[in-house]
């Protein structure tokens, strides 16, 4: 944990730093659903951007376009797809593989040999605190532990850009907060560029350097907040007046987005 890391928002966004860029992104599905309308923003290394918005507004579509699962119908998306980590809504662990074999999966799919990936697999398991559970099968894990294993699996290839599709939405409040704390520790050690989707405003404010609010369909960016709190952020930040004030403003915008 690098306690003296500068707040990521202070880093000037030169072209070299840009890890993910959307410009005038448009998405209309074949059935005519207009999902995204003129979405433009960029994320640099060391930035953690969260998108909040009403359900069905196209937040997840943004991730699917960034990762290449969907192709945008207009505008541009530029990102290095070879250095991309994607964390799904559910943990998508293979139930027939142990935790360790699951963590090895993505590297294995990219043709990395087991001996070659071993140090990274060890490090990832340590980082998410699953080293002692590495021989267990997914059915023996709690929801939070499954999500940790899923995170570790994405960490092995050391992606520059991390996409998170509401990864903690199914967890209880305590597990979610604990995983938020752990995710921030990962963010500070690895300094990746993060794009995070969530329904929870508290989660968005706690994690991010920047929070974007999206309107109901077709999704547009209707508000953009720099989150001024320094990293490392501690658990009690959630109860500071500034935190509540900022959350209140985002909540207000979000309510407007529904109309």
């Amino acid at each position: 944990m690098t306690a003296d890391a500068p707040p990521a928002t202070d880093v000037p966004a030169t072209d070299v730093d840009v890890a993910l860029e959307f410009s005038h992104l448009e998405m209309t599905f074949p059935d005519g659903t207009h999902a995204l309308d003129d979405v433009t923003f960029r994320i640099c290394r060391g930035e953690f951007v969260t998108v909040v918005g009403p359900s069905g507004c196209g937040k997840s579509t943004l991730l699917r376009i960034a990762s290449g699962l969907e192709t945008n119908t207009g505008g541009n998306c530029s990102v290095d797809r070879d250095a991309l980590g994607y964390v799904f809504q559910d943990a998508t662990l293979f139930p027939w593989r142990t935790v360790r074999r699951n963590v090895e999966l993505i590297a294995e799919l990219h043709g990395v040999s087991r001996s070659e990936m071993a140090p990274k697999v060890e490090e990832s398991l340590q980082l998410v605190g699953l080293k002692e559970h590495e021989q267990k099968y997914p059915r023996q894990l709690s929801g939070g532990m499954k999500m940790r294993a899923s995170l570790a699996r994405s960490l092995v290839l050391q992606p520059d850009v991390f996409l998170f599709d509401e990864p903690f939405g199914a967890l209880d409040e305590i597990s979610r907060e604990r995983l938020n704390d752990e995710l921030l520790t990962l963010f500070m050690t690895k300094q990746f560029a993060g794009l995070f989707i969530t329904h929870s405003i508290a989660e968005a404010v706690f994690l991010s350097t920047r929070v974007l609010v999206m309107s109901a369909r077709p999704g547009r960016i209707i508000a953009d907040y720099e989150i001024p709190f320094d990293y490392p952020r501690v658990h009690d930040l959630r109860y500071e007046p500034e935190f509540a004030e900022l959350s209140g403003r985002i909540s207000h915008d979000l309510r407007g987005a529904h109309e």
């Binding site: 990762s67 290449g68 699962l69 991309l84 994607y86 799904f88 809504q89 559910d90 998508t92 293979f94 139930p95 027939w96 999966l105 993505i106 294995e108 799919l109 990219h110 099968y137 997914p138 059915r139």
Partner: protein
């Protein structure tokens, strides 16, 4: 949790403390599965039912049947004596010599039928999994083949058995063919279901990491389909024994399997041997069914929780 409750029976005194000491939450669960408060119940229960069955058999022979029809249901001890305790019958000692009697002939017939069933099942497994894999690759392939599989399943194959005999000869090959036709469908249907019911997010995980069709099949779809494949195998294994026995029964020619023996014993009024042959044939079915259940538990039991637990 995966090893208990299967084939291990411990006396009550050693079982209770072990469970309460280690995992009180699962105590009720385990006790239910081992059959109430008496762990022996899984043994005792079936023994009682077996006793009732044999008792009813005796009752049928000695009380329920009219005197002149008693020979149709010989008492169990006669069946055991004529079928399993007599090695072979020679000369004109009994009516049964017309068909050949005793354990040696029955085991020869059983062995032949077992060979037919096993070879037919093996071919059905290879062919069935290959077909299902092919069908899983494109909707149009699936739609092109599926109607014919249903047709194959629907035709009254046993009525065709004499025809197959005439066309192919009343030989080993024809019997295997009958077995393959009977055992094929459950394997194809269950394998296909398993291969196609993988969640979309898992496929997307593979897509995101640039997996080929082959990698996807090997690392995701086949492992995920294993529980379904074993369900199909278990059904087909039972069917293959039925196919081998009943197919043989209808052939009425060639080297006799257990099915033909049943028919011959019936025709020569050797009812005690006939019941013996029926018992042997069903034992073969039970052994095969049990074997695939055991294999399934060995292969996927460590990660897959079957409903019967």
């Amino acid at each position: 949790m995966s090893d208990d409750g299967i084939g291990v029976v411990m006396p009550p005194s050693s079982m209770a403390p072990a469970m309460t000491g280690e995992n009180p939450l699962h105590e009720v669960d385990d006790r239910d599965r081992s059959g109430g408060r008496i762990p022996w119940a899984r043994i005792i229960g079936p023994i009682i039912v077996f006793g009732l069955f044999v008792g009813f058999w005796y009752l049928a022979h000695y009380v329920l049947m009219e005197e002149r029809r008693k020979f149709l249901i010989p008492p169990p001890h006669e069946v055991v004596k004529d079928s399993f305790l007599t090695w072979s019958v020679s000369g004109s000692e009994s009516l049964a010599n017309i068909a050949g009697g005793g354990l040696s002939d029955q085991l020869d017939g059983l062995l032949l039928s077992a060979k037919v069933a096993m070879l037919g099942l093996s071919i059905a497994i290879v062919l069935g999994i290959a077909l299902a894999t092919l069908m899983s690759q494109a909707k149009w392939i699936e739609q092109s083949i599926y109607p014919y599989l249903v047709a194959l399943q629907a035709i009254p194959i046993l009525a065709f058995v004499p025809l197959i005999g005439v066309l192919w000869g009343f030989n080993f090959r024809s019997r295997v063919l009958v077995t393959v036709i009977i055992a094929l469908f459950p394997i194809v249907a269950n394998t296909l279901f398993g291969l196609l019911s993988v969640d979309r997010s898992y496929h997307e995980l593979m897509t995101l990491n640039g997996s080929s069709r082959w990698t996807r099949l090997r690392k995701l779809q086949f492992p995920a389909a294993m529980p379904s494949i074993f369900t199909g195998l278990q059904i087909s294994a039972g069917l293959s024994v039925i196919g081998a026995v009943v197919g043989d029964f209808f052939f009425r020619q060639g080297q006799p399997g257990i099915g033909q023996l049943i028919d011959r014993y019936r025709a020569s009024l050797a009812y005690s041997q006939m019941y013996g042959a029926v018992i042997l044939a069903s034992l073969l079915g039970i052994v095969v069914f049990w074997f695939f259940g055991w294999l399934s538990h060995k292969v996927v039991g460590h990660w897959y929780e079957s409903r019967s637990g």
